[in-house]
Symmetry: D2
Subunit: 241 residues, 4 copies
Amino acid sequence: MRYTITITKREVAMVIENYSKLTAVFINCSIGKDVSKSHTQKLMDKVSVIMKNQGVTVTDIYARSHQIATGMIKDGAEQGEADEWPDIQRQIVDADILVIGTPVWLGDKSSVASKVIERLYAYSSDTNDKNQYVYYNKVGGAVVTGNEDGVKNCSRDITYSLGHIGYTIPPQPDAGWLGAIGPGPSYGDTEYAGKKLDAPAGFDSDFTNKAVETMAWNLMHMAHLLKSSGGIPAIGNTTNK
Amino acid sequence: MRYTITITKREVAMVIENYSKLTAVFINCSIGKDVSKSHTQKLMDKVSVIMKNQGVTVTDIYARSHQIATGMIKDGAEQGEADEWPDIQRQIVDADILVIGTPVWLGDKSSVASKVIERLYAYSSDTNDKNQYVYYNKVGGAVVTGNEDGVKNCSRDITYSLGHIGYTIPPQPDAGWLGAIGPGPSYGDTEYAGKKLDAPAGFDSDFTNKAVETMAWNLMHMAHLLKSSGGIPAIGNTTNK
Amino acid sequence: MRYTITITKREVAMVIENYSKLTAVFINCSIGKDVSKSHTQKLMDKVSVIMKNQGVTVTDIYARSHQIATGMIKDGAEQGEADEWPDIQRQIVDADILVIGTPVWLGDKSSVASKVIERLYAYSSDTNDKNQYVYYNKVGGAVVTGNEDGVKNCSRDITYSLGHIGYTIPPQPDAGWLGAIGPGPSYGDTEYAGKKLDAPAGFDSDFTNKAVETMAWNLMHMAHLLKSSGGIPAIGNTTNK
Amino acid sequence: MRYTITITKREVAMVIENYSKLTAVFINCSIGKDVSKSHTQKLMDKVSVIMKNQGVTVTDIYARSHQIATGMIKDGAEQGEADEWPDIQRQIVDADILVIGTPVWLGDKSSVASKVIERLYAYSSDTNDKNQYVYYNKVGGAVVTGNEDGVKNCSRDITYSLGHIGYTIPPQPDAGWLGAIGPGPSYGDTEYAGKKLDAPAGFDSDFTNKAVETMAWNLMHMAHLLKSSGGIPAIGNTTNK
């Protein structure tokens, strides 16, 4: 499977000129404590590097490295808890693009991803200066890795929730990696390669690489389209306040 | 709950000028044979009338009134069956907007909705003149009615599938209606009103009406944004052919 | 990965004596017209042969070989359609075990599986002679095959729906097969073996084989447990009639 | 809607005699800090009191009142964190019945429920004395409350995960409460009653009450059936060790 990207000169000029003003937040919701061991991070990095190459300012957040309170609350202080979420929220609101990464456990997204979505939701009645929900005119996507099953299920949950609170979801907004059924390698593992006939090619799945590229570009294209056009007109979609 | 839409003169002008060129297909995937009894149709009509008022050309399709073959096929003729899908497909490909309506059964979308999604998927490797998947530069949404539970689950499935094959999903792309837990009225039923303390207000749920309005406008806004801008640039998202 | 089954003499005697009275229905909900090409059938057969070896009477139904009406109806005749479901329903009600097989499309179960579940649901207010729902004291499971993603999602939908209408779901009630992410072989395909480094071993996945065995036995164990004990006592779970 | 439970003398005697040896753990996975404000707890209590009336020993755990570490780990100490889960795990392994309660947020179970499921999963390779997974011969169920939508989706996730790790899922293993679409009362709220025509009857939904009863009894029936029969025979379902 090979693919070629044909970019006309005009398109390249447009891209280089414009996308460098975009900003993105990538939140990795792995459940392990140590980001250096996160397979999901490896795949998220493949998406973010494409954006960085176009000049997008990318902020990486490893959720478990931050104290994030649980609850339908804006600030853990409301219930007497330390909470770094308000600062994370500020970065998300300032960014044009949000990518949530999650591992798959039992076919489902992680509890950390669920907590992050709950916290986003707690701010969902905030509004922008057009009286639309605060997440309007931003775009969202998902990165998912597991060892056998569940990319679509996790991505479906994440992107639907983002859309429900105001994000625009561009076409093919997700990238994932899975090995064949049963226990086996995780994304980026190299110790299996060539040892088992059924060892997937790890980092070098053409399919995953293509999804990574499509997702990265579609998020940028759509973020730029929204930004350069002044955003979704404030007709029919303003809040009740 | 009251809300007011504030539209500036410039916005009205823009809207009236542009949205009349848009086209939409609404497919109702109810499982009953008779469209006149479909509660889902009543809610779909509330969405489509907002579009019609802006001059959008809307085509209504009641799936069960057509013979639609089952299978991962482009034409039922491939397996010796009569099939009206190729004609429906042409209308979908020609339209800027696709709305899939479904009732909820056991918390899930209908088998008819599943069949329609399978048939859309069978064409998902077709491409447009930019070598993107054929559903690129179109927008999708969902309308769901049930008597107690499952709007989000159905809408999540439908909009994720549409996004996976190339549709753009605008913010809050769905509208639904549910009564309280347990058997009870369906959308638009009037015989319960006032008779039971817990009878929902039927047609006149402010929440559902607001979702209807938001969904209709966001589909139009995004379809116009894609159309007037020349669509998503063909960078990073073209097919492998 | 190796496993050994240790069966004591007493257990063998028990098993041979009892399980031969059990009956099972396996419904394959593939969307292709021709059962001989169904990958799902190949995996279902692996489950059913274990039951047959214990003397269980197994009825195989390939849904697409039958005319099954669409709707929340007991008989298509209600809406003037030919319908073989009433006959299938009778076999299901007579059986102790029901296994629904489905392929994965877009991470979801097939439209045929959805239709079968809707038809089962249409009878869900029927009762047995203890005034429990008619599906009580029966056990259910799922077989799922796809080429990359969605076994758990499909199985979750199917087994939840079966449980909702009265089936008991034994532990680990499902078996599935998936290749690695992206297009590739389907269950039982042999043409990929050895040709690609990442070609899964097809039929011979130890993981899938183990799931097949567990599922087959747990369905039999639980069906026998329910049958030999007189079923779930009719306390707290009878209908409102 | 009225229903009558007919219990024969023999059945009453059986029930009173046997079910008093059963034990159950109810884990409430609400996201609020204060159990006294949990609507889900009110509904869980309705299930547990039915069990207590039969002599079942019930342990109530409010997850957020305990420090539960995040990760695919048996003990937070592995990553240097305080963790009360090992003690909770012991109670779960000792019990015949497990009920997980969750609120609905965005149509999905809570992050706390996801974390609890992850921690259960981390022990899923533990075995009982028959070399079956440690959760075999136990039964599981779910209680879900929300204000508009998602009971089935949450229950489906929870019961599937429990089944996947070894629990038996009896028929109709869940109870839930939802109001009509849109914001509104939560389970047990009384301030709406009579004030709005569409205010659901709160505590007194016949439908929810019936589900509560069915769920409570089916969990007891099935737990007793498994316990009194010596459990699922260790044929075909033992682990690979």
